[in-house]
Symmetry: D2
Subunit: 483 residues, 4 copies
């Protein structure tokens, strides 16, 4: 079977030849830095889950590409059932990681390119799909952790793509017989520092062949020459660094925050066999739209639903610890949170239920365009509401809690135990409050809103997808107006 163990995965990262910087310092061993280690741990957990009988049904899939069972993280949806299992996996991994699984974007970008390359080959006579199929086979066979890179730096958004500076969009700067040279960067990239490889796709619809140089999709191995990774640094990075090995004083002890980086491509060579789009500007929009709806179903409608499982659960536990679980306003808040969560979930379900082969004949299945976008759109709004409501139950302590180190401080431990005890011990209460702090007083509101594209991207798609003529037709029939 093609499914690796956590140990095999970790071993595959070494020697760690990636050029990675965090908070001004080079990271030479990803396991040696508390922040980068959390990314490795999260990725490794995905391998654990695929090998765990409890989760196998969801985490493992049969792949016709290699005629074997594969890790669902590297599966390409080729049926409605694949789509269904895909979103179920997204929720499941979120439930147990409480952070990014780091293989989701890689899978969704690859799937989108599987669809688009098929279409390009059909329309243009290229052989991108053949190359990509080979890449998929390798990824499945070797169970590679593949991340995905989408977002260009963009620079001044007031300028059109064509008028932007060269560095604002990742682009091909030279085409050679054996491959291409690319220069630029991709930002907001999740997990590449702990991945075996990364799939790159364009960031937006392009308008003309003047923009052809940024119509670019390719895969690269993580330690390719010329690539630099610079990681995010947030208060939560600092907290983890301060905590050192004492991770159980953190809100997500093992897996931490979704850690991202900017990937800089400084004249990087990519061999043709790993290039899946290069100049076909008319297809850039298709790539990003198909990735968008797929990822909005998975990331918006399912992954965040898994996070909400944790948030709601933590609020429920804490309500019991505080002795308020039977208060009406608390019960009402649970109903509110669950109703919002289930709404997002319904959108993911509908997106898959109305999924279809796109393009017809390609064998690749995509979710419904409207519902995929609506899933993310609802989630973006609802997640902030959930934070508000869970934050109500968390109470002021979610902000004012002392360090759990005080529990080991002989001068204060007794006080802490005495004054923070409620219906449960101070230790338990503080631990669960810390979990909630992570969700209601941190990065997740903005992260959820912006991930898979901010709300305006979904609004734009909803506008494009709405069938105005059908709406108007029905209104005119009702009014008895014929024109």
């Amino acid at each position: 079977m093609a499914i690796r163990t956590r140990e095999e995965y970790i071993k595959s990262l070494l020697p760690y030849n990636k050029k990675v910087f965090t908070n001004g310092d080079r990271v030479t061993d990803p396991l040696d830095h508390p922040v980068t280690r959390s990314v490795v741990e999260a990725t490794a957990k995905m391998f654990d889950m695929a090998n765990d009988p409890e989760f196998k049904d969801i985490m493992v899939a049969y792949s016709p590409y290699i005629n074997e069972n594969v890790n669902r993280n590297v599966q390409i949806s080729r049926s409605r059932e694949d789509l269904e299992m895909r979103y179920k996996m997204a929720r499941l991994t979120s439930q147990y990681l409480g952070t990014c699984n780091y293989r989701c974007v890689g899978q969704d970008t690859t799937t989108a390119m599987a669809s688009v390359t098929w279409e390009m080959d059909r329309d243009l006579g290229t052989d991108y799909n053949t190359r990509l199929t080979r890449f998929i086979e390798k990824m499945q066979r070797e169970d590679l952790a593949c991340s995905g890179a989408v977002t260009d730096p963009k620079g001044d958004r007031g300028l059109s793509v064509a008028k932007s500076a060269p560095e604002d969009y990742l682009r091909v700067v030279e085409k050679k017989s054996d491959g291409i040279i690319v220069r630029g960067a991709k930002v907001h990239q999740s997990g590449a520092i702990a991945a075996n490889c990364t799939m790159v796709i364009p960031n937006q619809t392009l308008q003309s062949k003047d923009e052809a140089d940024i119509a670019l999709s390719f895969a690269f191995s993580g330690d390719t020459e010329g690539i630099t990774y610079i990681t995010q640094y947030t208060p939560f990075s600092a907290e983890r660094m301060e905590a050192k090995d004492d991770v159980y004083k953190l809100g997500n002890p093992l897996y931490g925050q979704r850690e991202t980086c900017i990937i800089v491509f400084d004249n990087v060579f990519i061999p043709w066999e790993n290039v899946f789009m290069c100049g076909e500007w008319e297809y850039a929009g298709k790539a990003v739209e198909r990735f968008g709806k797929t990822h909005r179903m998975n990331c918006g409608g399912a992954c965040k639903v898994g996070y909400q499982d944790i948030i709601i659960g933590a609020a429920m536990v804490l309500a019991e610890y505080l002795g308020v679980n039977n208060k009406n306003h608390v019960k009402d808040k649970f109903i509110d949170m669950v109703a919002m969560q289930q709404t997002s979930w319904c959108c993911a379900i509908a997106a898959a239920a109305y999924g279809f082969e796109e393009p017809l004949g390609s064998g690749i299945w995509m979710p419904d365009d409207m519902f995929g976008n609506v899933a993310k759109y609802n989630t973006a709004h609802n997640f902030w509401q959930t934070m508000k409501l869970a934050g109500d139950i968390a109470g002021g302590l979610a902000v004012t809690m002392p360090s759990e180190k005080e529990l080991d401080n002989p001068e204060t431990a007794e006080y802490i135990r005495k004054y923070y005890r409620a219906h449960a011990s101070a230790e338990k209460r503080m631990r669960m409050t810390k979990v909630l702090q992570n969700w209601v007083a941190g990065l997740h509101g903005v992260g959820t809103w912006q991930g898979a594209g901010s709300i305006e991207a979904q609004r734009l798609m909803i506008r494009r997808l709405m069938d105005s003529e059908e709406y108007k037709k029905l209104a005119k029939i009702m009014a008895g107006i014929t024109d």
Copy 2:
């Protein structure tokens, strides 16, 4: 084929022996009163649609009960596909009626009873399911328009059912060898005055055998002795009465408002063959919950989505008529409305997609409990928002518009034509504004909120259905708490 024509249906209502009162007067011919006629017209349209090649795919279904194609309005869901087609029918008929199709509740109550009677027969050795199957076969063979009656008057809601006055709940007052005598009323009943028969089910979960007399389900023919119908009367009734035959001056010219009535049962005899529950108080809750989730999927998640099709369309047409369709805030409002509409639709889709046979072995398919409830819950809130947004586009004229009769008044017609013309003629603008008035300045906000049970009923169900233990388990794993 078992599908009737509009003419056959209308003929079946005559002679009109029902005892019907409206605004203090007896209605002896439902076609002769402008309000009751709208109900007949709406019901008749349903027969038209089943005979229309354009709509047949959705409106007609194969029924194993009689091994024939039947009107989907009398179909009982026996597969996931049936559930899917059922909600599609709900949206479709709303799109063309802009009001209740008057057979929806009858179908959903019958389906719920098909499930519950099977369970009662299995558990209790009764033969309710056999009787009901015979009733369904007859209904399908004769394509009967069957309405459904659920809501008891309830009286003082501060009292428990057991302490309520006898008249507050419809109940059996005598059991005889050939049938039962029932007394009481059902309120908020849609369409019975134009139906061939009506299915009655209990209104709520019952607590003890002291309440057994109201654990009652039966069907009755519309003109059964002892039954009185008293219709609703609203400003829209008055408007239709004032309009007389000039219905094109109304917001929903042909089909009007959802017209309801109170049905009074004054010692009515129901033969045993039409009785499907009588005293089995433990099963009353199952009947209402199964009806609830089914109807919340159809009525909340689909029927109202069809109404939103009309509302959004009317706002789009009017925006064009006013020349504002390209303004940003107008386009934003369309996106807002569509996003809400599609969200409800997703919930209906998910409810059917996760539908299941209930009870196992019964052959009856029910939607997912949570999603059915969430569909209605979202719609209730979103419909008010939609009214607000569409009302913005409708403009003040949705309230201040003169009577269209002025267009025929030589002293004012020219003024009206001149001053109400916009990017379209005054006539068209007024006609479309009238359509929107019906939706944004009338009965639909409260109707949508209360129909299929008010929000609190859904909140109660969401609370019951949420799997708190699973939520808490996941939070504790994240926190590293084991207890």
Copy 3:
């Protein structure tokens, strides 16, 4: 004292020489038509209240214009205290009328013109303010019911004012030695059919002298030659017409809906003494903005708060009648409604508290620009929410209630009494449900949203008024950025 009685007011309307049409018919006696009579009754009630010791403190004001106490309806705000009393009057009259008091717009337009004419005279050497002062003195001395007309028909809103058709904006078509000839229309006009006179002001900011012809303000006596009034016609008009004298079967028995009309000016002569702006296009925007903020304080922040008093009260009474007043979700809804209501009220209070003399030296006091707009903005949104919540408590009966005529129908009365009784008699319950129906299932959502200008007008003003430089300055100080 200058304050008239109801009788004096009604007498002043006769003989009724206004040319008024409603639902296609001429109204020759406003007391003889059930709809127009409600407008007269509402206006008359205002005189009653000014003569009622209970309300005098608010309804009567000392006017320096004529050195006498006057009806506050004709008072011009000349101090912060005037502004405070003005908004208090707005709430008070709404509480007792449940509809428009029909003198509010007349007062606010006159006040705006008092400010703008002073500025025009100062800047341009005109004598508009002198004329207006004489008009105000007469209005106060004779206690005239003066309505206000603001909104032009506008036609195709996609066109600029300059490119619109002549009929789209009321305009001067001839200037003569003794006066001017005006042609066009004003729409959405409240109460003119029962007023002694009407104040006309421009509808918007103008861009150039090409638009000077519509920079127009004047007053006219209600029965001026060439003027035609065509009233609105809604389902509620029909209901009142059907009810005839039996008004206690209506939701607002005595005073009905806010009844508006379109006023058509077909070459109407206005003597110079009643002209307060004619061609000064640079001042049109000032007139509408000053009217806007004043009216948004009064109409948005206070009048609607008075309506909410009734709505909340009716929901509270009905909750008692139904026996649900102690249920948590019902109590929560009261809190929600009251919080929203008080928020709007706070905005009105703040608008007056930060009121100021504008222009300095004019003696005219205006509310704060931002807060006046914010008052209306909040109310527009909150009113729909209030309808939703009150509609929840009203229950399905707010839509499905039979006519109260059934209480007099020997064949149904007993049933109605029996089955609609709750914790109160069926009569009381139906009566209060009817009151709520008027608010939650009728014209008030759209009316409140559009009245005093729709939301987009307030948003535009908020954008203009926000002090972006100050906001940015503070952020840069925080960031330590100096540029």
Copy 4:
């Protein structure tokens, strides 16, 4: 003049005899620890502002207590104008601190006690007010930084106060001739570690004399024997500790987060002259309610409005830096944020405008009860919305931004400068993004919600304050119901 300089204030903290712990360690010099130093800096800034001619009008007030100008932070409101200036100060200091000014709670608790002690002395013949007056005089004369402590640990909230464990509420454990001994704790306390003294008041309404021991108000000097302070520890604490002196890499460089602590009273002696309530359980509720409404006006309606000034400003600057400031959805978000901000501000204004002397004769002025609560209520909800909208503009970089240290890293600096440049330099963009990160991805949502009491406290007050009888009366008049 009684107003101290920053230097005088800082000197007054030394020698630093308070027993303070943070993250498990003792703090011996508050200036030597990066977190505690931010509290001293924020407090010191308040003295700077009182001495700054630009801010003097607001920051300095005449006090009749000592017949001198005093720092408004120690002023007691004795007129409506005092209330107005008080809320203006709250907004002003928030604008420049971006965090707690640490004297606000001390002032509002002292003011509440000035009112309640006057009432106790009048009713009970105590001399609490005399003592408090002496305390106020001293505080004003010496310009003491006085914090306020309100919240008890409470323990299991499912238990009544009477059934709670002794440690759950701060209580008097012994009354002696010269003073009292108190034991327990106060949590969520802002700024005590950098204050000269602290005012303690009860946390809630008490029900019986069994709870008299916790009806307790007193002031104490910061270094009183037996008191221990344990500070909060959050990701932002860690970030500041990691940053060391390089504070300009933080979101609020100088003043940091609102830093709170738990204050433990381990058998602390308080002399009678500093005791202002001890056992008068009937007055505990008055103390907390008067504090509540005052603080909700200042903290909810004004302080957070000052924060919103910074947030909105930062979003505006960043929108310019990104080149998106002219996009419609961005402008719309500014309007949304400003409208919400101004709404809260209106509530504060109204609360002061309807302020009144309470009790009559006491000379102490309190804001309106309803409006003070509504101010906080609106702000709590709106702040989360503001975070959502500002977070949209901040973009993904608010989460994914690398450390600003990379700008000094020769291996990455050029990349960062190149790829994060937009319409402004990468440095500026990152700096402003960091400011926004602090507001949209941190502690402020929960902090604002919980500060001055969570939403449920305001809802409870709104319910108590609503005049149901008046509402119902008006509805019955409208319905024509007299009973």
